[in-house]
C-alpha cells in the first residue's frame, strides 16, 4: 500500500503504542514514562506535519479495513480532519508537559498517562474517521478512555462525577448509534464526502432524514454540551486540571462539535440540510446554549465550574457557525474550533495552576493573585480577553466571521444579538476575575500556599504551558491571515465544501 | 372377541397404572411414596411385557423398580424434612398448575390422536429388521443398542459414569450395616451366586433374546447391594485400583474398539463384518461390569476411604478457603 495512505494509521499508533507501553510500566519508572510520553507527542507532531503537507497537495490518504458486511473501518484525512488533528496534537504535547508537572509525586500515574494517550488516540481517530461507522466507534472509545481520567482522583465526588459523565455520554452514544444504523440501512454505507453524501440521493424520505438528523444531533449534542444535555460538564470538573484542560477544552467537547460539523457538511451537505429545515433547529439550539451557558457561568463562584459553563456556551459557537448556510459562517465555525480550544486550554491551565500552587478554587479568593502569580494571570487575562472577543486575541476572528456569515446569509437579525449578548455576558463573568486578579489588593492569605522555589512563581512545567498556549492564541489572532494559520486552513475547508 | 378381551385387559392395566401413578405422586409421606413407586415400577414392567418389549420389562423391573427403589429407601433417613413445614403454596397457584397440566394433556393427546393412525406405523422397524443380519446379533434391541445407535449407548455410559463421579466427589461412604441375622446371611450365601450366574446368563442371552448389558449389570449390582446389606462391608478391603478400573473399563473398551474400528474402516464404531458379534459381546461384558460397579457405589453412597490422595477428611473445613 502506498506509504502515504498508511500515514493516518501511523498517527494513530504514535499515541496508542506509547499508551499501551505506559500501562505496563511500574509506578516508579518516571523517566521512562515521561520519555515515552514526550516521544509519542513529538512523533505525532512530525507525522501531522507530513499529513498537512499531504492534504495540502491533494494526496489520497485513505485506509480501509472491513469488519463485516457494510461495516468498514475507514481512516481518511481531508482538510477538516487535519485541522482538528493538528489542534489536538499540539495541545496534547503542551498538556502532557503540564500533566507531568502537575502530577508530580501523585499515585497511579502510569494508569493516568496510559488512559491519557488512549484518549488522544480516540480523538485523533475520530478526526481521521472516513465514514460514519468509524466515527461512531471512535466516539464511543473516547467515552471509554475519558471515564477513568475523570475518576482518576478516586474521591467519592470524582467517582460520582465520572458516573454522571458516563451516563450522559453513553446515552448520547446509544442514540448516535441508532441514528447511524438507521441512516446506513436506508442510504447504504455513509462515507464523508465533501458537499454531503445525502444531497446526491433524492429518493430518501425527508421525514426519516429529519428524525435521523435529530437522533444524530442529540447523540453528538451530549458531548458538544448543547443545553439540555450539558449536565455532565460542570460535574466532570472534579477531574484533575490537565484532564479538564485537554478533555473539556479540546478532546471530548470538540469531538461533539466536530461531529456536528461532519454531519452537517459531509453527511447531509449544508444546502440539503438547509432545504430540510434542519439548520434552523440546530441554530436555535446553539443560540440557546450560548446564552444559557453564559448566564449560568455568571452565578458560579467555583472557578473551574464557571469555565465549564463558559465552555458550554463557547462550543455552541461552532454549532452556530455550521447552522448558518454560507462560506463565511463555515469559516467562522470551523476556525472557532481551533481558537476556542487554544484559549480554553489556557484558562484551564491557569485554573489548575491556581489550585495547585495556592489552593485557590473560588473566584472570591482570587483577590490580588496577579501580583503573586503574574505569569499565569497574564496568560489567563489574554485568554479571557480572547474569549470575550477582544480583537488582538483569536476569539475575535471567529466571532467576526460568524457575524459576517450571518449577515451574508440574511440570518443576521437573530445571530448578531446572540453574539452581542454572549460577548457581553462573557465580559460580565471574565472581566471581574481579571479585575480581581490585577487591581484588587490581596485581602486574606492563600488557602494552601506552596513556597516559591527558584526564580519563577511555580515549577517550569506548570508555568510555561499556559504561557505557550496564551501566546499561541495571541499569535493565531494577530497573524490570522498568515499562510498556514488556522483561518487560512478554514478558508480552504470552506472553499472545498461549497 | 379376543381383541375385545385384550382391550378390557389393557383398559384395566392403564387405569391401574394411572391411579398408581397419581397416588405415588400425591403421597406426602415419603415411605408410602417410595413403596408405591416400587409397585408402580413393577406394574410398568408388566405393561412393557404387554407391549411386546421384553428387554424393557426386564430393565424396568431390575433398574426402575429394584435399584431406584433401593436407592430411595436408603435415602429416606437422609432426607427427613427438617421439621419445617414446607411453605404451603397458595390455592391459586396449585389450581392454576392443575388447570395448565390438564390443558397440556388435552392438547398433547388431541395432537397424538390426530396423527397416530394416518402415519405408516412401521417407521424404522422395517429398516432395522432388514439390516439385522449384518449387525452381528439377532436380538433387534441389542442390535440397535450396540450397533446401529451404539453412540447413544456410549454417551449413556458416560452419563452413568458422570453420576458416579459426582457421588464420589460429594461425600464419603455411608456407615456400613451391622451384620444381619443368621437367616439373611444364610440366604445370601445361596442367593448371591445364583444372582451372579443369572447375570452372566442375561448378558449372554442378550445377543439373541431379551437381555443385555444393562439388565445384567443391574442384576450384578443387586447382588453386591445384598452383600453390602448383609454386612459384608467391602469398603476397607477393596483394592482401590481395581475399583477405578472397573468403573472405567466399560467406556474405555467401547471407545477403544470404536476408534480402532474407525482406523480400520471409514467411520467410528463401524465393526468390520465378521467381528461384530464378538466385539459386541466384549463391549457388553465390560459395560455390565462398569454398570454394576457404578450402581453399587451409588447405593453405597460415596467414595470408599482412601479414594482421595490426601487425608479423606470429609469435613467441609478444608473447603473453607474455597467457598462459593
Amino acid at each position: 500500500m502506498e506509504l502515504f495512505s498508511l500515514l493516518p494509521l501511523f498517527i494513530l499508533l504514535s499515541s496508542l503504542l506509547p499508551g499501551l507501553a505506559i500501562f505496563m510500566l511500574k509506578e516508579e519508572s518516571h523517566g521512562l514514562r515521561t520519555g515515552l510520553n514526550l516521544f509519542g507527542a513529538i512523533a505525532k507532531l512530525l507525522l501531522v506535519g507530513l499529513l498537512i503537507w499531504g492534504v495540502f497537495h491533494e494526496k489520497l490518504l485513505e485506509l480501509r479495513w472491513s469488519l463485516g458486511p457494510g461495516l468498514e473501518l475507514v481512516l481518511h484525512a481531508d482538510a477538516l480532519s487535519v485541522l482538528f488533528v493538528t489542534l489536538s496534537t499540539v495541545l496534547w504535547l503542551v498538556t502532557t508537559i503540564y500533566a507531568i508537572g502537575y502530577l508530580e509525586n501523585t499515585p497511579h500515574r502510569s494508569r493516568f498517562f496510559g488512559f491519557f494517550s488512549l484518549c488522544v488516540t480516540a480523538t485523533v481517530g475520530l478526526a481521521l474517521a472516513g465514514n460514519l461507522f468509524t466515527f461512531v466507534i471512535f466516539y464511543e472509545l473516547l467515552t471509554l478512555a475519558t471515564y477513568p481520567l475523570v475518576a482518576h482522583k478516586g474521591s467519592p465526588m470524582a467517582v460520582r462525577g465520572a458516573r454522571i459523565y458516563l451516563a450522559y455520554t453513553l446515552a448520547g452514544g446509544v442514540l448516535l448509534l441508532i441514528g447511524a444504523v438507521w441512516l446506513q440501512t436506508i442510504a447504504g454505507p455513509i462515507d464523508f464526502v465533501q458537499g454531503g453524501i445525502l444531497s446526491g440521493m433524492q429518493e430518501l424520505d425527508p421525514w426519516q432524514l429529519r428524525w435521523i438528523f435529530l437522533l444524530l444531533i442529540i447523540g453528538l449534542g451530549v458531548k458538544a454540551a448543547l443545553v439540555p444535555l450539558h449536565g455532565w460538564l460542570p460535574q466532570a470538573m472534579v477531574a484533575p486540571a490537565p484532564v479538564s484542560a485537554l478533555l473539556h477544552a479540546v478532546a471530548v467537547v470538540k469531538a461533539g462539535a466536530f461531529g456536528i460539523v461532519r454531519v452537517v457538511y459531509d453527511v447531509y451537505g449544508v444546502e440539503f440540510a438547509g432545504s430540510l429545515g434542519l439548520l434552523a433547529f440546530l441554530g436555535a439550539a446553539a443560540s440557546i446554549t450560548i446564552v444559557y451557558g453564559s448566564v449560568k457561568a455568571l452565578s458560579q463562584d467555583n472557578l473551574k465550574r464557571r469555565l465549564a459553563y463558559s465552555t458550554v456556551s463557547q462550543v455552541s459557537y461552532i454549532a452556530l457557525g455550521t447552522a448558518i448556510v454560507g462560506p463565511l459562517a463555515t469559516i467562522g465555525g470551523v476556525v472557532h474550533l481551533v481558537h476556542q480550544g487554544v484559549m480554553k486550554i489556557t484558562l484551564f491551565f491557569a485554573a489548575g495552576n491556581y489550585a495547585e500552587t495556592l489552593g485557590v478554587h473560588r473566584v472570591s479568593e482570587m483577590d490580588g493573585i496577579g501580583r503573586r502569580m503574574p505569569g499565569t494571570t497574564l496568560a489567563f487575562t489574554i485568554a479571557a480577553l480572547g474569549m470575550i472577543g477582544i480583537p488582538p486575541v483569536a476569539g475575535f476572528v471567529s466571532k467576526w466571521y460568524i457575524g459576517l456569515g450571518a449577515m451574508e446569509a440574511g440570518a443576521g437579525w437573530w445571530v448578531i444579538p446572540v453574539l452581542l449578548t454572549s460577548s457581553l455576558l462573557n465580559a460580565a463573568y471574565f472581566l471581574p476575575i481579571v479585575y480581581r486578579a490585577w487591581f484588587k489588593p490581596m485581602t486574606q492569605a492563600w488557602p494552601e500556599e506552596q513556597p516559591i522555589q527558584g526564580r519563577w512563581e511555580m515549577p517550569a512545567a506548570l508555568l510555561w504551558p499556559p504561557l505557550v498556549t496564551a501566546s499561541l492564541a495571541l499569535l493565531i489572532g494577530v497573524f490570522a491571515a498568515a499562510p498556514y494559520s488556522p483561518l487560512e486552513w478554514a478558508t480552504l475547508i470552506a472553499s472545498r465544501e461549497y | 372377541m379376543i381383541d375385545l378381551l385384550w382391550l378390557m385387559v389393557d383398559a384395566l392395566l392403564v387405569t391401574l397404572l394411572l391411579i398408581l401413578g397419581w397416588i405415588t405422586c400425591a403421597s406426602t409421606d415419603i415411605k408410602r411414596g417410595i413403596t408405591l413407586f416400587t409397585a408402580f415400577g413393577l406394574l410398568l414392567a408388566l405393561i412393557w411385557a404387554r407391549l411386546r418389549a421384553p428387554d424393557l420389562a426386564l430393565a424396568e423391573a431390575v433398574i426402575g423398580a429394584g435399584i431406584s427403589g433401593a436407592l430411595l429407601l436408603r435415602a429416606i433417613n437422609d432426607h427427613k424434612p427438617l421439621g419445617s413445614s414446607t411453605p404451603q403454596r397458595s390455592a391459586w397457584m396449585t389450581w392454576s398448575i392443575n388447570l395448565m397440566a390438564l390443558a397440556l394433556f388435552c392438547v398433547m393427546s388431541w395432537s397424538m390422536w390426530l396423527t397416530l393412525d394416518q402415519v405408516d406405523s412401521t417407521r424404522l422397524s422395517q429398516l432395522v429388521l432388514s439390516q439385522l443380519d449384518d449387525s452381528g446379533v439377532s436380538n433387534p434391541v441389542t442390535a440397535v443398542l450396540l450397533n446401529f445407535r451404539a453412540y447413544d449407548t456410549l454417551l449413556e455410559l458416560a452419563v452413568v459414569l458422570t453420576a458416579v463421579l459426582a457421588i464420589l466427589a460429594l461425600s464419603p461412604m455411608r456407615s456400613a450395616f451391622q451384620p444381619a441375622g443368621v437367616l439373611l446371611t444364610g440366604m445370601l450365601r445361596w442367593l448371591v451366586p445364583v444372582l451372579i450366574v443369572s447375570a452372566g446368563y442375561l448378558l449372554w442371552v442378550g445377543a439373541h433374546a431379551p437381555g443385555g448389558a444393562f439388565q445384567a449389570g443391574a442384576m450384578l449390582a443387586a447382588a453386591m447391594i445384598l452383600l453390602h446389606q448383609g454386612g459384608y462391608h467391602s469398603g476397607s478391603g477393596l483394592n482401590l485400583m481395581l475399583l477405578r478400573v472397573l468403573l472405567v473399563i466399560g467406556i474405555a473398551l467401547f471407545v477403544g474398539i470404536g476408534l480402532v474400528m474407525m482406523l480400520l474402516n471409514q467411520s467410528f464404531l463401524d465393526y468390520s463384518p465378521g467381528w461384530a458379534g464378538l466385539l459386541i459381546l466384549v463391549i457388553e461384558t465390560a459395560a455390565t461390569v462398569s454398570i454394576a460397579a457404578a450402581l453399587t457405589l451409588a447405593f453405597v453412597g460415596g467414595r470408599p476411604d482412601g479414594w482421595e490422595p490426601v487425608t479423606d477428611s470429609s469435613n467441609p473445613s478444608n473447603s473453607a478457603e474455597f467457598n462459593s
Binding site: L67, G68, P69, L73, H108, R111, F133, V136, I137, Y147, P148, A151, G154, S155, V159, A162, R163, L166, A167, L170, A171, V174, Q184, T185 | M108, S111, M112, V119, R123, L124, L127, V128, Q131, F148, R149, A150, L155, A158, V159, L161, T162, A163, L165, A166, A169, L170, R244, V245, L247, V255, N265, Q266, S267, F268, D270, P309, V310, S319, F322, S324
Partner: protein, 480 residues
C-alpha cells in the same frame, strides 16, 4: 486427519477415564486434552471453511437408522469458542484449585463437561441431543456442587430438578416427533417438516424443554444461584457454554430444521421474552450485591439479546440480509462467551484474593489487582457492546436488521439494555477505582490472570476487528 469430528469427542472422553485411573496427574492430562481439542477444533473450522459442512455417519449406517455427526459453520465456530474458553478455564482452574482434594474431584467431571459440549454441538440426531443434554446437565450440576457449601448445594439441587424436568419435556417432544415422522435425524426432519398439529406440539415441547435449560426470562430463576455459587472456572463454563449451547439447539431447531413450520407469532413471543430478559436481567444485575451474582444476571440479560434475533431473522427475506443477521447472532454468541468467561475468571481472582466478592467492598481493587480490573473492564466493554468489541458490531447489525424488517420496537429495548449494562458494569469499576484496601497488597501477575486476559482480549479486540471472517463463513458453510 479426516474424521477429526470423532477425535474431538473421543479425546476428552478417554482423558476423563485416564484422570479417574491416574488422579495424581489429572491436571496435566486435562490441560493436554484441552489443547488437543482446541487444535482439533481449529483444524475442523478450517476444513469447514475450505470444504463446507462435514457429515460423519457413525457405524457406517444410513442416516435414518444410525446417528450422524454433523458440523457446519454455526457449530464449528461455537465449538472453536467453546474449546478456547475451556482451555483458558482449564489453565485457570489448574492455578485456582490449590487444594489437591478439589483437583481430583474437579478434572474428571470437567472433562465430562467438555465431552458433553462437543458431542452436543456435533450431534445431528434428536434423541442423541437428549442424551447429550442430560450428560451436560448432570456434569454441570456436579461441577456446581463442587464448591461444597450450603448455597451451592441448594442451587445444584434446584438446577438438577429443573434440568431433569426440562430434559423429560424435551424427550416428550422427541417422542412426538418420532410418532409423526418416524425418523430422528435432523437433516431428514428438515426435509419432511410440515406444519401439522403434531409437529407444532412437538416443537412446542422441544422448545419448552430447551427454554428451561437456556434460562430464558421466566424460567431463569435457577441460573443466578447456580452460576454465582459455582467455583469460578465452572461458572465461567456454565455461563459461556452450557446455557449458550441450549440456545444453539433452539436456534438450530427453529431456524434450520422446522423453518417452514414456523409462524412469525411464535418467534415474536420468543423475541418478547428475550426483550423482557434483557431488561429484567440487567435490572437485577444492577441491584446485585455480589460480583458473581451480577455476572450471572448479566448472562440472563445477554441471552435475551440472542432471542431478540429470532423474530428479526425470520421476518427478513432469505438471502444476504438474513445471512447478515445470522452472522450477527453468531458473533454476539461468540463474544458473549469470551467476555462472560473472562468476567467470571476475573471475579474468581478477586474472590480468592479478597475472600469475598461483595461489590460495595471492592475498594482499592484497581490498585491491588490492576490486571484483573483491566480484564473486568475489557470484558465489561464486550458485554455492554462498546466499540472495540464484537458485540458492538453485532448490535449494529441487529439494529440494522430490525429496521430492515420493520420491527422498530426492539430498538428501545436494545438501547435500554445497553444503558443498564453500562450502569451495572461501571458501578463495579467505580468501586474498584474507589478508595479502600479490602483486597490488600497484591500486585503480582498471578498465573491465573493470563488465561482470563486472553479471553477478554478475544472478546473485545480480536473479535471486534477480525469478525469479517464470520460473515463469509456463514454464506457457504451452512448445511440446512
Amino acid at each position: 486427519m479426516n474424521n477429526l469430528i470423532v477425535w474431538v469427542i473421543g479425546i476428552p472422553l478417554l482423558a476423563s477415564l485416564l484422570t479417574i485411573i491416574w488422579p495424581r496427574r489429572a491436571n496435566v492430562i486435562a490441560l493436554l486434552t484441552a489443547l488437543a481439542c482446541l487444535l482439533a477444533s481449529i483444524l475442523l473450522t478450517y476444513q469447514v471453511h475450505a470444504g463446507g459442512p462435514i457429515t460423519h455417519a457413525l457405524g457406517g449406517w444410513a442416516s435414518g437408522l444410525g446417528i450422524a455427526l454433523r458440523i457446519d459453520a454455526f457449530s464449528a465456530l461455537l465449538l472453536l469458542m467453546a474449546m478456547l474458553v475451556v482451555s483458558a478455564a482449564s489453565f485457570y482452574a489448574n492455578a485456582y484449585f490449590a487444594d489437591p482434594l478439589k483437583q481430583v474431584r474437579f478434572w474428571p467431571l470437567w472433562l465430562m463437561l467438555i465431552v458433553a459440549i462437543n458431542s452436543l454441538l456435533l450431534s445431528g440426531d434428536l434423541f442423541n441431543l437428549y442424551v447429550t443434554l442430560e450428560l451436560l446437565g448432570l456434569s454441570a450440576v456436579a461441577l456446581t456442587a463442587l464448591s461444597d457449601n450450603r448455597a451451592a448445594l441448594q442451587a445444584a439441587i434446584r438446577y438438577l430438578s429443573i434440568g431433569l424436568l426440562g430434559s423429560l419435556v424435551f424427550l416428550a417432544g422427541v417422542a412426538f416427533i418420532y410418532a409423526g415422522y418416524g425418523t430422528l435425524d435432523l437433516l431428514q426432519l428438515a426435509e419432511l417438516a410440515r406444519p401439522d398439529a403434531l409437529t407444532l406440539v412437538a416443537l412446542a415441547l422441544l422448545s419448552a424443554g430447551l427454554l428451561i435449560k437456556a434460562a430464558l426470562f421466566p424460567m431463569h430463576f435457577w441460573l443466578p444461584a447456580a452460576h454465582a455459587s459455582a467455583p469460578a472456572p465452572v461458572s465461567a463454563a456454565l455461563s459461556a457454554l452450557v446455557v449458550k449451547v441450549s440456545v444453539y439447539i433452539l436456534v438450530r431447531l427453529w431456524l434450520d430444521v422446522f423453518d417452514p413450520a414456523l409462524s412469525p407469532a411464535a418467534t415474536l413471543l420468543l423475541g418478547i421474552l428475550g426483550g423482557m430478559a434483557v431488561i429484567w436481567g440487567s435490572w437485577q444485575a444492577l441491584l446485585a450485591q455480589r460480583l458473581k451474582l451480577m455476572a450471572a444476571y448479566s448472562t440472563v440479560a445477554q441471552l435475551g439479546y440472542l432471542f431478540l434475533f429470532l423474530p428479526v431473522i425470520v421476518a427478513l427475506p432469505a438471502g444476504e440480509l438474513r445471512d447478515n443477521a445470522f452472522g450477527a447472532l453468531l458473533l454476539l454468541a461468540l463474544t458473549h462467551g469470551f467476555a462472560k468467561s473472562a468476567l467470571f475468571l476475573g471475579a474468581g481472582v478477586i474472590q480468592q484474593q479478597a475472600g469475598h466478592d461483595r461489590i460495595a467492598d471492592l475498594g482499592g481493587t484497581a490498585r491491588a489487582l490492576p490486571l484483573t480490573t483491566f480484564i473486568i473492564a475489557l470484558a465489561g466493554i464486550a458485554l455492554v457492546g462498546l466499540p472495540p468489541s464484537g458485540t458492538f458490531l453485532a448490535k449494529w447489525q441487529l439494529i440494522a436488521s430490525s429496521i430492515h424488517s420493520q420491527q422498530w420496537w426492539w430498538i428501545p429495548v436494545i438501547a435500554a439494555g445497553t444503558l443498564l449494562a453500562t450502569a451495572y458494569l461501571f458501578r463495579v469499576l467505580g468501586h474498584a477505582f474507589g478508595p479502600g484496601d479490602s483486597v490488600g497488597k497484591v500486585v503480582n501477575w498471578g498465573r491465573e490472570e493470563i488465561p482470563a486476559l486472553t479471553l477478554a482480549l478475544f472478546a473485545s479486540v480480536i473479535l471486534g476487528l477480525g469478525s469479517a471472517g464470520i460473515w463469509d463463513l456463514i454464506v457457504d458453510g451452512r448445511i440446512y
